[in-house]
Symmetry: C2
Subunit: 281 residues, 2 copies
């Protein structure tokens, strides 16, 4: 089910994260794997936490685990025992209600933490599914809290990361509660652009890994509305759409599009933009 591997030979703790991208082949069927263990410093780097000297010589290692597209990292109700950090790949977290309806909560990627919602009830409250082949670092929760007592910085980092997640959800609530469909899609594009930028990829041209349906679920919209809105942004030149590839042409316009002025003035405004565009052709 999971393509886990548990070699007896530990990788030297000094191996840096950058080396993680360097793929190595194993004898077993020419499968390719990234390195299978990370030390505390690597974890801190991924989380954007200033790693401290005392952590350098830490012997503790955290295991990596790989998931193929479509595989589940954890399922709803599964006993909680570990957090995960995304080292590479793209995923989605899904909330499933009592009727089986799915609501997408986030699209985690490199540096994001998974599983925090499992701490309070000792069961994961959501499902995490890989949208591409992924490499995650497993952080056994017990091990982590124990380490946190030794390295105060780590403990504070854990509180900080959990707090950050909470703020992220708060902003999401604000978005769903107050913004129009166009504003939501615009913000989604801006946040994806920023995330790709932070990861070192182009923030101007990137590949959304999820379907329109998944974007819609995430934004509280239907897939048709998402599609239409992307088409509109494409028409007025703010973005270039080709299937799941998105080119950002006017980031400021996307950022500036907030709550739309009460109503009818907006349609006019967009129409004006379109008129201007057409007169130029």
């Amino acid at each position: 089910m999971l393509s886990m591997q548990m070699p007896e030979t530990h990788v030297a703790p000094s191996v840096s994260i950058s080396a993680a991208l360097q793929l190595v082949s194993t004898e077993a069927g020419r499968q390719r794997h990234s390195k299978l263990w990370s030390n505390l410093r690597d974890v801190c780097d991924l989380l954007h936490i200033p790693s401290v000297a005392s952590m350098m010589d830490e012997a503790f290692l955290f295991q990596h685990v790989q998931f193929k597209t479509g595989q589940r990292v954890h399922t709803l109700g599964q006993p909680f025992d570990a957090l995960y950090i995304v080292n590479s790949g793209f995923l989605k977290t899904v909330l499933i209600d009592e009727l089986g309806n799915e609501q997408i909560l986030s699209f985690p990627m490199r540096g994001d933490m998974l599983g925090v919602d499992g701490i309070c009830t000792k069961q994961y409250a959501s499902e995490v599914v890989a949208l591409s082949d992924c490499d995650l670092i497993v952080l056994p929760f017990k091990k982590l809290t124990t380490l946190g007592r030794v390295h105060i910085e780590l403990e504070q980092a854990m509180y900080a990361v959990m707090s950050r997640e909470l703020v992220r959800e708060q902003v999401m609530v604000g978005m769903l509660g107050a913004l129009s469909a166009e504003a939501r899609v615009a913000r989604f594009l801006v946040s994806m652009s920023e995330k790709f930028g932070q990861m070192g990829y182009s923030s101007k041209l990137f590949n959304l890994r999820m379907t329109r349906h998944e974007i819609g679920s995430y934004l509280g919209l239907t897939l048709e509305t998402v599609s239409r809105t992307l088409s509109t942004f494409n028409q007025i030149g703010w973005i270039s759409v080709d299937q799941r590839m998105i080119g950002i042409n006017d980031l400021d316009a996307l950022k500036t599009l907030r709550r739309l002025p009460p109503s009818r003035s907006r349609t006019k405004k967009l129409q004006v933009v379109l008129d201007v565009m057409s007169t130029c052709m």
Copy 2:
């Protein structure tokens, strides 16, 4: 501004939470205050955490602070240094975007924790306003983490409470993203009923402390929609509305009302209910 008091005389740690409700008058202008200090056990009780024997003899005390209706507990961007636990009273937490638009995130009451969103950036990310006179317990964050290293149960409790907050927000996102106006209002009433029940008040008859506008902001609806929906529930007998007093008559009906069937069948269904009601009169 704040009706804080810092007496030199500490209340004995053995004083129980139940005594907190016993108001005492001070010489200063006949103002009435609840007790001004709580110990670790009291805090654990409030958070529904099994308090452990080792905490009983803990000398550490946490200060209380009172807020009058309308006062702010903390404001957006204010430097973070403490969490708060609500001992009594009702509040609202408000997210304020760059344009000054307000979005209500929660209505904290007895046992709820405030300020978690300040940890990650060392600045509070939201505002908390008292909807009634309140009594809060101040938990200086440094002190708390230090104590957490001694009492492992406390540390785990802190993680658990933060995780619980995250799950709460996730459920909120699911609600805003997928439910109709009627379902949102119904769920809001159910959750308020449960909260009042947990606090020892009646879960069948309670006083909403917030305006229709605030409820609407919380649920991502307009105040008119909230008002209309409450009127509808009142008409079909599920609740009794008198201003901000709400009587719950059919909790199951409110709980069962989920995503409404695609559309037109619903209006018919509600109409049927109304018809049935009218034929009974």
